[in-house]
Symmetry: C2
Subunit: 200 residues, 2 copies
DNA sequence: GTTTATTTGATACGAGCGTATCATCAAACC
DNA sequence: GGTTTGATGATACGCTCGTATCAAATAAAC
């Protein structure tokens, strides 16, 4: 028998190379050969672990989702207050540091591809923002019950608005319109308006 | 001499074909040959009017900008009230109808390309959102002077927030998370909060 | 130490890409 | 009315793409 290799880890390494290219040069530049070079392996190896390019792209999207989830969880404060949960989650999605910029850029690349290839979105895409939005809506409901947020607000509407605002701010950062700190400030400005007098 | 042809109009026709492809199949699918086929002309003709593909892509971005500007102006109400100007401008950027969906999708395709090819953004990209944002900030300042908006707000921050919110909502519509009407409703909800008791 | 299942390497194929070249057409001008 | 010149057509080149094919190397099992 041959030397045994951790199949999943090898796939992750190659997937990471793909995401690195998507971040720095866009998914248009992510050919099988370029991914192989970036991962430091042969083209044949990429083909061995991913039968087709579509399979590679789909797996890459999965890994990106994992990275995003991990980052969001890492940004949830201890102990978890309602405002802290909302602020942390949204800040995680914002490109405020190198990792955030990388993830936001990579996500944008996949988003554009999914617009043209709906099968990508169908398999994995639309669920993630939906989850995030529902999570936020629940947090806002909790904050209302704790008296930190005006009960007149509709949690789902507020959550959708906050997430859209954050995504839009992220786009403007990637577009060079402002830096991460400025985006963060605008987000905080809105959160201050939402959470009456309570401090995070 | 040969039959004289309206050079600019021909370029516009070919550019329109490019934008149509960018909308329906993404810019990855926009090869010179595909653009020629979509425009119903020969490959040579596309090369004649645009020496290189980069030139075609850049011109297409210019035409897209013109279409966007025209749509925004068309959405400014008569007579122009402060809230009407802000609402109209933001609604124009939202994919609430077929034209809006087309423009937002095409813009998203260019945005993703510009992330990977900064020269595109350098020539044309970052100026447009900036103009929009400054325009909005001025409108909000006017609304404050008219007493329609709380003077405690910072116009630039509010304008940036509104535009980011609108862009984020547009992304969620393209992503299939909600339809144009729902996005519009969320935007209106925020505008209601901003413009105290005044009606549009 | 041979065997053998698994992992890696080298290379080829057909298609599509951007671009360039050469030829042709048709209308305006002298 | 031939000549010039802008507009169009047909085709080819070199390259990269995704994918497939054919070997070779490797290390656990006996």
């Amino acid at each position: 028998m041959p030397k045994r290799v951790d199949y999943d880890q090898r796939r992750r390494e190659i997937g990471a190379a793909l995401l690195r290219i998507a971040d720095t040069r866009g998914l248009q530049a992510a050919s099988m050969r370029e991914v192989a070079a970036e991962a430091g392996v042969s083209l044949r190896l990429v083909q061995y672990y991913f039968r087709t390019k579509d399979e590679l792209l789909l797996a890459g999207l999965g890994y990106l989702g994992e990275e995003l989830s991990a980052r969001v969880e890492r940004h949830i404060p201890r102990p978890p207050t309602p405002r802290g949960m909302v602020t942390g989650t949204l800040t995680a999605v914002l490109p405020t540091d190198a990792e955030g910029r990388r993830l936001t850029r990579t996500y944008a690349a996949y988003y554009a591809l999914a617009l043209a290839e709906p099968k990508l979105a169908a398999q994995h895409g639309a669920t993630y923002p939906d989850l995030l939005e529902r999570f936020l809506a629940n947090q806002i409901r909790s904050a209302q019950e704790a008296g930190d947020v005006d009960a007149a607000h509709d949690p789902a509407t507020v959550a959708a608005g906050l997430l859209a605002l954050t995504n839009g701010l992220g786009s403007s950062v990637l577009g060079g319109q402002r830096d991460g700190a400025a985006a963060q400030a605008i987000l905080t400005y809105h959160l201050d308006g939402l959470f009456g007098g309570s401090r995070p």
